[in-house]
């Protein structure tokens, strides 16, 4: 997902001490990073904390960032690692939040006003998919979220997660098989 900002110029400004350049990076990527954290963690509260931590870590490491690398791939990598740390720490806590967030998820339907039947169908589909996504192992979830939600190519996913193309292919394929199974048999 390419953002319409001049990342090298912003980085140059930041290295010269212009903090507002970093704010422009935050504004450009905040929705992507927040959305990624939400789909990785499954709740809005943790997503906000994780997204904020992602940018704080990025700020600290920005001076050492290699300009030839892609800013968003680098940010996604920090976000995925931050979410994995969060998931490890707050797996018990998140159990109590899922129900509330699932309800909010259905409320956030796209605003193109579908028919009530269609809205109900897509709401149920979103609910089932999110439930299945939440139960997916972390590594598979990271790969499928980057592919289906962030729209990254296999090469970009490999760069983000630091894995080979073959591993990306296998994780996405396994993620789809498991999602299909979990959606068909939610009690499993």
């Amino acid at each position: 997902m390419t953002k319409n900002i001049n990342a090298p110029a912003l980085l140059e400004r930041f290295k010269k001490g212009d903090a507002s350049a970093f704010q422009e990076i935050v504004v450009a990527y905040q929705d992507s990073i927040y959305g990624l954290c939400f789909h990785m963690l499954g709740d809005y509260h943790s997503a906000q904390d994780a997204a904020q931590d992602t940018f704080l870590k990025a700020y600290q490491g920005l001076k050492a960032f290699r300009p030839e690398a892609s800013v968003y791939t680098w940010l996604y990598r920090i976000a995925v690692n931050t979410c994995i740390d969060y998931k490890r720490k707050s797996s018990l806590e998140s159990l109590f939040r899922h129900r509330f967030d699932d309800e909010r998820l259905i409320e956030q339907e796209p605003s193109d006003e579908p028919s009530p039947e269609r809205a109900s169908e897509s709401g149920q589909l979103a609910f089932n998919l999110k439930k299945a996504l939440d139960r997916l192992p972390r590594k598979l979830r990271a790969a499928i979220v980057l592919k289906e939600i962030e729209g990254l190519s296999y090469g970009e996913i490999a760069d983000t997660l630091g894995i080979s193309l073959g591993t990306v292919k296998s994780r996405i394929s396994r993620a789809r098989d498991e999602l299909k199974e979990l959606m068909q048999n939610p009690q499993k």
């Binding site: 929705d31 990073i33 600290q60 740390d85 394929s173 299909k180």
Partner: protein, 149 residues
């Protein structure tokens, strides 16, 4: 192309991540294979279902909060909290194991000591000889007299 090979390539196929040659092989296989054709439809259905997921946007004022967080953070303080937290977790686990082991050893030695005290209390050495003019002494004398007969 065999089904086992085709099934592995269906996922990269729908992601448009195959070479032109592989793409062609998959398309010809799917035309003649009902099982792979069904699997392809299922994968496409799953792919399109992601469009129904909510795409949350960062909350209002998010960027401002991030910048405030950066400004409030003392300069030169590294963001090593996760590493620190993990070290604390590891230390806590080690302390629990150590305390558990120590408690086990202490309880074990106390039990052994208690058991040896109980056994020694049942030893004949702990009984005193009976006084001849006591009720016990009279009873023993009577019993000895009965046995002598």
């Amino acid at each position: 192309m065999r089904c086992s090979k085709a099934k592995k390539l269906l996922s990269p196929y729908i992601d448009n991540e195959l070479s032109a040659g592989q793409k062609h092989l998959i398309e010809s296989h799917v035309k003649g294979c009902a099982a792979c054709s069904t699997k392809l439809e299922v994968l496409r259905g799953l792919q399109s279902s992601f469009a129904h997921l909510a795409m949350p946007q960062a909350p209002y004022g998010f960027a401002t909060r991030v910048m405030s967080g950066i400004a409030e953070r003392p300069k030169g303080v590294p963001l090593l909290l996760p590493v620190f937290t993990r070290l604390v977790e590891a230390a806590a686990i080690a302390a629990i194991i150590l305390i558990g082991t120590k408690a086990g050893v202490l309880l074990g030695s106390a039990f052994v000591q208690q058991r040896s005290t109980m056994v020694s209390s049942l030893s004949l050495d702990s009984f005193e000889s009976v006084q001849p003019n006591s009720i016990g002494g009279a009873y023993i004398a009577m019993m000895e007299g009965t046995h002598e007969k």
